[in-house]
Symmetry: none
Subunit: 194 residues, 4 copies
DNA sequence: GATGAATGAGCGTTCATTCAT
DNA sequence: GATGAATGAACGCTCATTCAT
């Protein structure tokens, strides 16, 4: 692995685990196996390193969600929505550590970049809302879902997404992976037509 | 307000906003209006200050939940469960800043006190599970709820709790307060008997 | 014991054990059982406390030496000289802790009072040299001692004094107390007439 | 001189002069001509700096003593013993400042490393006792010394060593250098066979 | 006489960063 | 591309001391 990639992956791991303020560049350097000043041959600053990682991962995450949602027609609505949930808790295609990095950055960003980060994410969320919107409208239209306001469906779905993420993080992916299908079943029962 | 109390409340606010590693004692001192060394007339160390705040707030939170759950019998099951959710997202009796402090500490604790914190919280969670357990059993028994395994009910409820907390934090209490009832309605529809 | 006396004795003990720079007023206060600022009802400053202790003990020590040397005629010269040695290593009348305080202050005084302290001690040493001088002259005159230059006798005696002090401090008074008579015998054999 | 060496020599000088507690890293840095944090490119901590210096000097000192004692057979016993004394007061091969550092560390070590230091030195003392032991046994056997218990000879010799060290420190190497031969003569008279 | 609260000075140490090599 | 050496800024914390109570 080229050193720049090692730096990125170790930085993601440490930022996810310890946060931005809790991670010193010296820790990243040590994890990579070089001395701290050598980092500067590959990065501009701690801040820009962090922001680049955030951008990369946010983009990757959005892309994964899009793919999950736009899955070929042979997947049912329930399957596609469940795939989005699984994706969002890092259990699916995005690695768990990247998922943690992403959510930590969103929920509790480093003070000086709060606005920047939340601004960038609002766009992503808007696009996600758009995709979900089509999905839910379709489901209501074809009678798969109860006749509920789409905005409400989206709100409750996003709430579930955040809940499953936190619990994945808290109980660990493996343990929570067992509970997730049951949780989903109850959620689905609340929105599906009888 | 006595100075020790000012220190506590300012510390809670800053720890909630910026995290443990992102908050310098000098910031707390400045917010209080004293010099940094003067803090040490009131605290033992940054670590113990943090842990004491955590203990206080965790205890207060647990107590609020207990009260919400054990509310007088004239509240319906749905009302009591909803009260727990509202309580848990800081919208009810625990101040929003305390709620943020609590969840941030739990989800992303400072590295060196992770075990301590999570250990202490596991107890609280166990007691919450116990209380919810009685509630759900009762609901299943009297036909208010569908006949679902209580463990699954608890898991999905705790997941909802975390989701609503994150969203409160993310969208702000006021904005999210409007969406919450709708979210609750969909959740309730998933577990209530038809 | 009145508090001022407790302060003095605890300060002597801690200064002897840990040195001036290594002893915080807070330690003295804790040993006395009061809070640090309360010390200032009894002392002017850390510096003056130290200097007063030094003066007290130096004076006491000088007095003890004088008494040992001027002991009634029924003591032999050897007995009187040996008494001076025993006195100087804290084994006799001055407590061991005071002896340690004194020697530590002399050998390695706090930087800012080096001149002050060494100046004061030179006087004391001059007076000790005077007393020893009479003793040795008498011994040479009456044939108890070999016919050696008195200056040389004094120099070797003071050297022995410092050696026995250090060893008392190093091996402990009890252990070294056993060796001292043998050491003295060899020293005496070197200066006594055959 | 490479910077690490400058740091060591300045640290030795200041620790010898002012003690461990009385010497701030900022003083060492200023003496070296760098800023305080720059020290940390060369040292791990103040404590380990001190301990490394102590180890270096103690080892060097022990080696010098060994050489003095094992001097070629053309030196007489008296010459060899006297060489040990001269060596031990820093007048011979170990620089005066190192000698002061060493003795100060031994007699009045910083509180929290007392055991460590004294432990390390006990070994050195044991080896010195061994070497002296052979020397004295030889001297008694060939009639150079009076027939005295070797343990007593060692005890008195070590006592003389400490005395001469202290006086070198106290009167200065130059001044005391003049008195030392006379002091030695009297000591030797006490142990030598007539 | 004792204390809680405060403070300026200073401590040992870590940080992100620079720069010559 | 990597490093040793350095640095200004800041950190958590202790110190001797003051002062109102």
């Amino acid at each position: 692995m080229p050193p720049s990639q090692t730096i990125k992956s170790e930085a993601i791991r440490l930022f996810a685990l310890q946060g931005y303020d809790g991670t010193a560049l010296s820790e990243i350097a040590k994890a990579v196996g070089i001395k701290t000043p050598s980092l500067y041959a590959h990065i501009d600053s701690k801040e820009t390193l962090f922001m680049e990682l955030f951008d990369d991962i946010a983009r990757e995450h959005t892309e994964h969600l899009r793919v999950a949602i736009e899955a070929a027609g042979h997947s049912s609505l329930e399957e596609r929505l469940f795939a989005v949930i699984r994706e969002s808790c890092g259990d699916y295609t995005l690695s768990e550590v990247k998922s943690t990095f992403l959510k930590r950055s969103l929920f509790f960003p480093p003070a000086y970049m709060r606005k920047e980060i939340q601004g960038r994410f609002l766009e992503a969320e808007q696009s996600l809302r758009g995709l979900l919107s089509s999905l839910f409208e379709e489901g209501v239209a074809d009678g798969t879902l109860r006749s509920i306001d789409v905005e409400q469906l989206i709100a409750s779905f996003l709430c579930l997404m955040d809940g499953t993420f936190i619990q994945t993080h808290y109980y660990g992916a493996e343990e929570f992976g067992k509970r997730l299908p049951d949780i989903w079943k109850l959620y689905w029962a609340g929105i599906a037509a009888q």
